[in-house]
């Protein structure tokens, strides 16, 4: 099992899958997604909230309705994800701004409408076959544009930062960030980057 999906409000999920029942059912055929029924889901959420949830399965991704968790549950899940390097997707109607963070482990906070979008099923299918994909893929079809724009911002700011070879310096921090992005989208010069971004934007 790769994915644990905890949804304690099945009605909104039902509404989402109403016109795509077949493809929704298909993603469970592989047996890689565990989505407990509402009562079992509530039991697991209770366990998370009281620190008694032990992750025995080899899950690579947890998807949880954030509002179901108490402060203790959020802290418990963060510890588990940090320790086991598990990716985390939180969705909730109360989230008004998407927030992605990969400091300790990869996590994204999404509004439930953005979560239950046309991207969900393809994302889950992709994750089943390749669990190294970024959770950003659930956020935007052209998620790579996000990396490219970030890359451009960092490259331009690197130009504004004085040369310094101290490993703890601000320049080194920017350089490490640049390297991380280059591992995903490859190395590019600024001109080439502008053109690639423009091309992608034109196709949107």
């Amino acid at each position: 099992m790769k994915i644990l999906l905890l949804e304690d409000r099945p009605e909104r999920q039902k509404k989402f899958i109403s016109d795509k029942i077949k493809s929704w059912e298909n993603i469970f055929i592989s047996g890689q997604i565990f989505m407990p029924e509402v009562n079992d889901c509530k039991v697991i959420i209770e366990q998370i909230n009281n620190y008694s949830f032990a992750l025995n399965q080899t899950f690579k991704l947890l998807i949880v309705h954030r509002s179901a968790l108490k402060s203790s549950g959020i802290s418990h899940l963060s510890s588990i994800c940090k320790e086991k390097k598990i990716k985390l997707i939180y969705f909730s109607g109360g989230i008004s701004q998407t927030i992605y963070n990969s400091q300790d482990f990869e996590q994204i906070n999404l509004n439930s409408t953005d979560f239950y979008s046309d991207l969900l099923i393809p994302f889950l299918q992709n994750f089943i076959t390749n669990d190294s994909i970024s959770v950003l893929e659930i956020f935007h079809t052209e998620w790579k544009i996000s990396y490219m724009m970030l890359y451009r911002q960092l490259l331009r700011n690197l130009e504004l930062t004085e040369e310094d070879y101290d490993l703890d310096s601000d320049r080194s921090y920017i350089l490490r960030r640049i390297e991380k992005i280059e591992n995903v989208i490859g190395k590019m010069k600024l001109e080439e980057l502008h053109k690639s971004i423009q091309q992608k934007i034109n196709y949107l």
Binding site: I74, S78, G93, I95, L136, F139, Q153, L160, T161, I201
Partner: protein, 616 residues
């Protein structure tokens, strides 16, 4: 210069230092893993705290913001979101300060990737692709001074911030909106109400609503009071959000023991349990009026849920099964006419529509809403009298149904009576119009008239009999003289002109036996009542005549209605039959017989009975 730069870790630290040295202040905006791990974390709350804690009370010449403040996902465009917060956070003193966004994207690109672009097309917003101190300085010099009032108006006209699409959070904001408006109109200024508004006060949507529809503080505070009495139960799953305080204020003239609240207990319960909790309280508290929130469980907010599946609707149906007279006022934000129609068909007695931001366009809406709440609660308290009526009706229906008579005549009587009672209930519903009350009274009187037409109750003919238990007593004999044409009746009861009632006494009369006579005879011989004045029959009959003849200014009172119901309960209950007056009559007759009078001529039924008794 007194400018402000808000930046993240992707912005060159050297650039930030230069900005501070030449242009003003700079603050880092960074959402850490630790912030995200906070249960109550929201971007809006984090941003509001950032603005108010770091920058409060400082007025800047210009504010510089990168398009994106997210360090890892550029497309979040959180710098633009922060721009909206600067414009709409009234406590932050820079609502109209020029904002200069910087980044390497053009507006076409941003608008293609995000729905936040409206702000770029408002006054005092500038955009630059060149991140340099020289360029930033140049930008500040280009700024035009605009009139602040005009700027705000222009901004609010141009932008349109949507609520979170999720049903529950929208619900929450609508709730807080109505609470704040109504609390203000009712001059409620408690710490609790303040903390309630602070809870959602950081939401961008809420800030937008407040800016667009500011609360009118110049209107006179509302000073209504409930005039009628009764037990009111308020049912709402969000009582603690402020509804309890608002409804406590509205009902504050009632004794404390007449007001009850339920809703805090609903958290985490299934809809079925919620229904049971409400019904249990309705019965235990003997509620006369219930203000019932329509949506009591999260499931009720799922779009597309049919009205019949909503918890409040189911509760309404159950309450009406207990007693149709219990007044149920539906409390909801719904303005969907088909939902309101369905609720009305399920016998909802009134509606209180929560004020929503769309309504607040009309600045008088809040006061009108509050006035309407007082009116509808008062009307329902007045109508709660129908609770007694419904209890009487169901008791009467039970009484007439348990008499196992196979006579076709009796089953017609049952169906006619049920129908008359139902019509009467609906007529009494219109309490504000006395005509309907009077018509309802006549409808009840019709039941009395139908009852005396039953053959096993009163048999009318040349010889008329009253039936009691297994006996029948001759009460009236027609002494018409066909030759002379004179009409005369011989009766065992006689009208007392002084008391205006019939009493046991042999007499001859020219009066035709009307309903008043027949029922009087019934009271005396079927129910063994001697002082029939105690039954209020004379008053009931008088009311009926006054109403039926359309006497001016005749309005039956609630007391009159109760009297006629008590009377119906008396005459329709077969267990109330009492033959004591028949027996008295027999004893009296026996005495007369000893004095050689001929009872058999006057009362053959009694004669028969006496014979029977003698045999036994």
């Amino acid at each position: 210069m007194n400018s402000l730069l808000i930046y993240n870790n992707n912005i060159s630290p050297d650039f930030v230092s230069d900005f501070k040295a030449v242009m003003g202040e700079a603050f880092s905006f960074s959402i850490t893993n630790q912030s995200l791990s906070n249960e109550n974390f929201t971007f809006d709350k984090f941003t509001t705290e950032f603005l108010l804690q770091n920058l409060n009370k400082k007025k800047y010449d210009a504010i510089f913001l990168p398009f994106s403040l997210a360090e890892e996902n550029y497309l979040e465009f959180s710098g633009i979101s922060l721009g909206y917060h600067i414009r709409l956070t009234k406590e932050f003193c820079n609502k109209s300060t020029p904002i200069i966004f910087f980044g390497y994207e053009d507006l076409y690109t941003i608008n293609k990737l995000s729905s936040k672009g409206q702000i770029f097309f408002t006054k005092n917003i500038y955009v630059t692709n060149e991140q340099s101190i020289v360029n930033f300085q140049k930008k500040v010099l280009e700024i035009n001074c605009e009139n602040e009032f005009e700027l705000r108006k222009h901004f609010l006209d141009r932008i349109d911030i949507k609520p979170s699409v999720n049903h529950t959070s929208h619900h929450s904001i609508s709730n807080e909106w109505a609470i704040q408006r109504w609390a203000n109109a009712l001059s409620l200024d408690s710490v609790k109400i303040k903390s309630i508004t602070e809870n959602v006060g950081s939401s961008l949507y809420y800030k937008y609503l407040l800016a667009k529809y500011p609360i009118n503080t110049t209107q006179n505070p509302i000073n209504f009071q409930l005039k009628n009495k009764g037990n009111i139960l308020f049912v709402d799953d969000e009582l603690e959000k402020g509804w309890e305080e608002i409804f406590a204020k509205i009902s504050n003239v009632l004794p404390k023991e007449s007001v009850s609240f339920i809703g805090n207990e609903f958290k985490g319960e299934d809809p079925k349990i919620i229904e049971e909790l409400v019904i249990g309280r309705v019965i235990q508290f003997k509620a006369d009026v219930i203000v019932l929130d329509l949506r009591l469980h999260e499931i009720d907010f799922v779009e597309g849920t049919s009205i019949e599946d909503i918890t409040g609707y189911k509760v309404l149906q159950q309450i009406k099964k207990i007693n149709k007279g219990i007044q149920v006022i539906i409390f909801s934000a719904t303005n969907k006419i088909w939902n309101l129609q369905a609720l009305q068909a399920a016998e909802a007695d009134g509606f209180i529509i929560k004020e929503s931001p769309e309504n607040s366009v009309d600045e008088n809406f809040t006061n009108q809403s509050i006035e309407n709440i007082y009116k509808i609660i008062d009307l329902c308290l007045k109508r709660s009298f129908l609770k007694k009526i419904d209890t009487y009706i169901s008791n009467i229906n039970k009484l007439i149904s348990r008499q196992k008579l196979n006579l076709e005549e009796y089953s017609d009587f049952i169906s006619r009576t049920k129908s008359n009672l139902e019509v009467a209930f609906h007529l009494f519903y219109n309490l504000n119009d006395f005509k309907y009350k009077n018509y309802g009274y006549l409808q009840l009187f019709q039941v009395i008239e139908d009852f005396i037409r039953l053959k096993n109750v009163f048999e009318e003919g040349n010889l008329s009999y009253v039936f009691c238990k297994e006996k029948k007593v001759l009460v009236l004999q027609n002494l018409d003289d066909k030759i002379s044409g004179s009409k005369k009746f011989k009766s065992v009861i006689c009208f007392n002109e002084h008391k205006h009632i019939y009493e046991i006494k042999d007499c001859e009369s020219l009066r035709r036996p009307d309903t008043y006579y027949k029922i009087s005879a019934l009271l005396i011989f079927r129910y063994g009542i001697t002082g029939i004045g105690k039954t209020n029959w004379n008053k009931i009959n008088k009311n009926r005549n006054d109403v039926a003849h359309g006497e001016p200014n005749v309005i039956v009172s609630e007391n009159d209605i109760i009297q006629i119901f008590d009377f119906l309960i008396l005459i329709l209950d077969k267990n109330k039959q009492n033959d004591r007056n028949i027996n008295n009559l027999i004893t009296e007759s026996k005495k007369k017989e000893n004095h050689k009078t001929t009872l058999a001529d006057v009362n053959p039924a009694l004669e028969e009975l006496l014979k029977k008794m003698d045999k036994e």
